[in-house]
Symmetry: D2
Subunit: 345 residues, 4 copies
């Protein structure tokens, strides 16, 4: 049995990691950390874990890394990078679920996250943990940067078309509807039930920090730079992202080829489902699972293609993807602990 620890176990991502690890046949949890709740039992903070996980929370320290094979960091942005250099000194593999090691360029990080990166020298060493695009590098990595939820949905939707050079890389518009858990567990007025419920709202237009991450990942899939207009919205559901990804088709691209290209790109992938013709993604069908549902349509009237992408922001958008990467890093079957379909209804 491999040993896995979690730093930041009481946030929504930490709790979801534990839900997945409980039924993972080849791992056991070592240490769970939480700063303000240290000393308490995790089940008192996360009642859904009552009877499944019975462990006392401790504070994060360098020793945490020493007792385990993989350490998940489910910490806030800018907190992870305060700990990673010290933690890397152990042999432990680290999967950071924050944004701190996703961007290759420290300058871009500083521009969007409004603070200088504390250890820019680690950025080239960190691997972007999207197995469908970077499986081989993940196998070798000691430090994996788990992709953001919005970028995962958008990049899986568009990367195959970018690789084929079928769309205008300057024309990409992504409108993403996210469940409220994406905003985290910290108390906020906008995520109170009575404010978030029964309401859709936009936020951070033109400024959302996932924008450069999407652009970097798509540029990597394509042959050159791309510029993305990214609109994030909050929808009244706990989990789920539905991304509408629109782009101008380049001349000469056969509209009918688009869905086929997606199907071809993800043949053999255990978690990406390109839906049959006529079926469009529904976030509810992915909730609780590590699946991504994709469908595309080329609109000859407008000369544009739209790819719709649905996933669970806490699943393939965070914890599920991290477990998938851990499986790859540990040489386990990639689907171990993740053989669970969506919870519907």
């Amino acid at each position: 049995m491999k040993k896995i620890s979690i730093a930041g176990a009481t946030g929504y991502t930490g709790i979801e990691l534990l839900r997945l690890l409980v039924k993972h046949p080849e791992v056991e949890t070592a240490t769970l950390t939480a700063e303000s709740h240290a000393g308490k039992n995790i089940a008192d903070i996360a009642p859904s874990l009552r009877g499944w996980v019975d462990q006392t929370l401790v504070k994060l320290s360098p020793e945490v890394a020493q007792g385990c094979d993989v350490l998940f960091l489910a910490l806030p942005h800018t907190t992870s990078m305060q700990h990673v250099p010290e933690l890397l000194k152990s042999d432990c593999k680290i999967i950071d679920l924050s944004a701190d090691y996703r961007l290759h360029d420290a300058q871009v990080y500083g521009d969007w996250y409004k603070t200088p990166h504390l250890n820019p020298e680690l950025l080239s060493q960190a691997v972007y943990g999207l197995p469908e695009l970077h499986r081989d590098k993940i196998k070798q990595a000691q430090l994996v940067a788990n992709p953001g939820c919005y970028p995962t949905s958008a990049v899986l939707a568009l990367a195959p078309l970018m690789k084929e050079n079928w769309v205008d890389a300057q024309s990409i518009i992504i409108d993403s509807k996210s469940g409220v858990s994406g905003a985290g567990r910290k108390l906020k007025q906008t995520t109170q039930f009575c404010e978030a419920n029964e309401s859709v709202s936009a936020y951070g237009l033109g400024e959302h920090r996932h924008t450069p991450e999407i652009e970097q990942a798509l540029a990597g899939a394509a042959t050159g730079p791309c510029t993305v207009s990214f609109t994030p919205l909050l929808a009244p559901m706990p989990r789920g992202i539905l991304a509408s990804c629109t782009a101008r088709l380049l001349p000469g691209t056969a509209p009918g080829a688009v869905t086929d290209a997606l199907a071809r790109a993800y043949a053999g992938e255990p978690f990406v489902r390109v839906l049959p013709p006529g079926q469009w993604p529904v976030t509810g069908a992915t909730a609780g699972s590590n699946a991504v549902h994709l469908q595309a349509a080329a609109d000859t009237r407008t000369g544009r293609v739209i790819v719709m992408s649905a996933l669970d922001n806490l699943g393939k958008g965070a914890a599920g993807q991290a477990v998938q990467a851990a499986n790859v890093m540990l040489g386990l079957p990639e689907t171990a602990g993740l053989t669970t379909s969506g919870v519907a209804p």
Copy 2:
């Protein structure tokens, strides 16, 4: 007191019309029709009206028009046009909430609604009932075509920019999140609670019938044709539309001018609110009211403008707008019966 009748009073739009008319100080309801529920009391079909409306439902007939000043037709598409010619023979003014008289071109109607128009000669006589754009024509009309919910939100968002000729009319992409009541009250698998709840889904991509209506209305505001990519989505809330309207800014347009242009365009309008800087529309703030909330931002990085528009699909998107048009047609204060802020939370 003016007399108002409703054909199709037991659907969601009919019920909302009644909710507004109950507190309208200058009208009284004459006849309420419903085909399958004829003979029953409306409060047995719509329990929210219990104690407020106590009236027996009858079947629609030409006589219904004779007893009233305004007749609202809250009937399905293609049903309205079976009745309108006969109903117009009375002096009664008609506001049709279906799509049957919204498009000027019978050919376009036939292409998108998959059935020939039964009385194309009436299309030129019908006035598109968006008071902010066509108030004077509405005053004179006997037949008003109440705009669709998606078109209302999109057209109010973009018309001022089209008039200024600031955006590329071929670059418009509209991604609209709608509450489930937009799908009507008829039983469907996709609108069952357990299927629609906690889930966002796309439908009718590239084929939604509101597309030509949006294009026609925007072309009317601009100096030439425009082509729109329109993506409708269902969000897990009963009411509300949030439209993300993106377009390429034409060279020479000052990004800072965009919000000002909206504010200028709607100064004096009783129901359109251009939000202060930094505030983005939230559908929940408009629920139950006839208000539209707008905010815009120009993104110099991408050269695009985005206008977000929120309204209640049953309010300004249907029943509220119809009452507003009725007020205009009857010479009443335009806000009569509509002085109600959003129901929040």
Copy 3:
């Protein structure tokens, strides 16, 4: 036009009061207070009021009472009683929406609210503001204690049976499901969307402070004391209370008489609807209105009666009831500003 002020205008109850006053034909708002938001415009704190109320918030002071006919206190429990004695020195009528003046006995207040009452001498002067039971006293009062949301639903359900002496006053069990807005607008973990959504939970069993209020009100309706088991629960909806009120029928009571007794008790009441046989209350049908829906059934198999009662906790359970009481106190038509059916869907 009568002048009405609100202390605590930015909580959910304050916002709902404003929603009702905006369309009230015979009042205008004078002063709106809020402590932490003083100096801001109310529409920046409550976006649903944008364009309907355009007023700057001030801090509460004795002067507030001097400029108006009625002052609503939408303040937290124990805060109201710090201000009321000073505010009463003006001629202004006061409707306190907190619990501070609902209980007649200062000792009971101290026991349940865990703090001594600051001005017990005012308790006998305050009138319990349930117009259906105390209309005449409300007319004469300067200080009205607006009933709690749970007590309103339970007392209207059971008072007619208590008056008839049909039920065992020691056998009453009330299980009440409340919308989340009942917990107020202050940030709490349990009312965050992701915790409250899609979940029903119990709280405060055996300790909820509305218990003595219900017992006092029912004892007033009956000929002697009564003891109530009260179970409050949070349901995943913004508004609404559904109370299941069960009691043992005393020997000799005809089961069939129960619904008739309710209908008789509330004949002529503008806001209480006893539903037709076979229809059970649904909270959604009352949302946004001042209506109460009631239905009863006697179960001869068990010898018990159950009365179900639905209302909007912010409507008849708080702001609507307060406006109703204000109308009574000001000699206005009791339904002024309240002629609005439920917002459904």
Copy 4:
């Protein structure tokens, strides 16, 4: 690997059974039946299963039983009993998730289900599939009647107190809040999103068919008959039951002993969690799992005890419990396939 088939695979219970079986380490699915969808792929009817289950639906026939070790019947009430006699002729073990074999007395079945039982001779042979009470009998059974969702929550809450003879068996009042999936997947007006959402409603008061099932199961736990007042309600969530179970404490019972008695009764049970003092059950914490959360309090003021019980109506209330029983019948570890904590948020 054991072979398991499902009759009625496309309803909510059938889909949940498949979700659990997909990750069950020791079973594989044999045949899936569905009458109206026969010939289609299950993933086209249940998109959450896309990529996890790839199987064509067939019609139910006697052969279905021959190819498997356990056959789950997720069929409507009164349909199961049309098939069971024929299906039992094979060696296959049958777990019927309908109500057809839950009641021991055919007369009671006929009274409450309004139709005579077709094979009353099988009622004595069927075992009531609540492992916490009847584990040994389940091991030996060929035909198991899977308990109803409401009875499971109520019986687990009250059985320990009945066994101790601590409560008055004529004083039991159960008020149960259920998620909408409990109403099944068939189209109904009351379960449309816009009707069920944001609303709590009562139904079937005094007539709900789970009443005699609860009474029978509690009488079995006690030393004599009991009479229950049962109030079922629909709450706006897809899954979950929260049961408020109130009863009069018999003289001499120490209030403090109640929670201890629960803890003692379920020590060693893998799925029943008696919560620590001060924590009350929340349905959301059990969603997606086979767990039951219990908490009790004795109220000395009223002389009553209340036990709150939360579970997932599709989990421990249906599919999870059926898998648990199947594990018992097949000699597998009782938690196999069920090691999954609640999906929260």
